[in-house]
């Protein structure tokens, strides 16, 4: 059985999650990336979508306009680290509970997730058609003046995932600990190969 989060997501549901766990999302998912974050945090603009208990996706989709009805063609996650600069305040201001993207995020997001009970999760990169097929309907779009990739696309999703929890509300950061593991393994391997490639004599 898949573990499913449903919006609005409660603090209790968030507190049960641990890094490395796989979950799926039912409910509302809103795309929000670089400029959306900047408008709220730096320009002090009010977000036109209520994100309390909600979920955002770091992504710039390809959307087709079928005579007034929008169709999600392709929606893959983008590098979450670009939003690190804004995410702490974004979480505090909006009350968002689930942030989905690609790759890890940094210490400020970890701190905000701990304090405000939120998680960051990874959707597999390069799986844009899978994601698009899990969007049941695009309900509306806000901030269209930002263009297709940066606009806030409000979608109803079903079994959206797999989402791998990468930052939980207990202060764990999966990608950081993975990187530490890779770096710990690196030195001995590099030295061993180095011994075998001494071609300059």
């Amino acid at each position: 059985m898949n573990k499913v989060l449903t919006t609005p997501i409660s603090d209790a549901a968030i507190e049960q999650l641990t890094v490395g766990e796989v979950v799926f999302l039912d409910g509302t998912l809103v795309t929000c990336r670089d400029v959306g974050h900047r408008r709220l945090v730096e320009l002090g603009m009010e977000l036109p979508v209520d994100l309390r208990g909600g979920a955002i996706l770091h992504a710039g989709p390809i959307v087709a306009d079928r005579g007034g009805r929008f169709e999600m063609v392709s929606i893959g996650p983008t590098t979450s680290m670009r939003m690190e600069k804004f995410e702490r305040e974004f979480i505090a201001r909006t009350g968002v509970k689930l942030i989905v993207g690609k790759g890890g995020m940094g210490p400020e997001t970890v701190e905000a997730c701990r304090r405000h009970k939120a998680v960051h999760a990874i959707f597999p990169g390069g799986c844009a058609v899978v994601a698009a097929q899990q969007v049941q309907e695009i309900e509306r779009v806000e901030w269209r003046d930002l263009g297709m990739p940066e606009a806030l696309w409000v979608s109803r999703v079903s079994q959206f995932g797999p989402l791998i929890v990468s930052i939980d509300a207990k202060g764990n950061n999966l990608v950081d600990s993975n990187k530490a593991l890779f770096n710990a393994r690196k030195a001995a391997i590099v030295e061993e190969i180095g011994r075998q490639v001494r071609f300059i004599k």
Binding site: V22, I62, S74, G103, G126, A128, A132, I189, R198
Partner: protein
Amino acid sequence: MTIQREAQAMTDTMARFTAFVGRELPDDVLTQLGRLRQVEDGPLPRVLYDSMFKNLELAHELSRPCCQDTGALQFFVRAGARFPLLGQLRPILTEAVREATRAAPLRHNAVETFDEKNTGTNTGTRLPWIDWDIVSDDASVEIDVYMAGGGCSLPGAAKVLMPGEGYEGVVKFVFDVITSYGVNACPPLLVGVGISTAVETAALLSKRAILRPIGTRHPNPRAAEMERLLEEGLNALGLGPQGLTGKASVMGVHIESSARHPSTIGVGVSTGCWAHRRGTIRFDENLRHQILTHHGVTL
């Protein structure tokens, strides 16, 4: 056919082929991903590989680009000096990109530098990027189409080492790149290493290295051995699919090299993501084409 009609026909074929490359991975990549999928037995890598293969099936079924980031288009051309449309190749490839962008559709990924305006056509100043190799005494042309997203372009790095650092320095450089930015570049990666005199020559060779079919080896036995050692070593890091840990890290490591200045070791690293969208097509002097990277395909 007149030259104009021939050029139009080649443009249409290249537009269809470019869109096709955005949807379907080449045979060697599919085979290698299938092999790596078998190696992974952890629950998380399995979930990830299931999504990746499901995505490829859906992209095929729905005829959509398999990844939303369809790159800033690059062509690597090996043109016979007697190929009849040699002089028209740049306009042909540029027009093919415009057409593929509309038809596929491809994401708009051409931003004019300094103006910071997206052209909306995937063409612009020096874009599509074309790399030329002229083959004397030949009348055909072979063209590699390459589509890389921002994620796997980001790790690209080049540096000039002092000879004292030796090939050991090259190994360290490769590992540093892969354990930092490589983790986020959608592993399992295809890693290209260029070894030459300067940054730009090493960087170009590193890109050409990932255009080689997976599993081919550098003709020099030492270089081939170094490819094998780097492959084993990077796999021992255990990046796994998406960098979320697992048994393998790379689809392969390819080295390309040139003779070089005795005072320098230029090293470049390029990475291709798991969705390594590369296609090679050959046109003979009568403009009949053959696709070399994808078996049994008609455009």
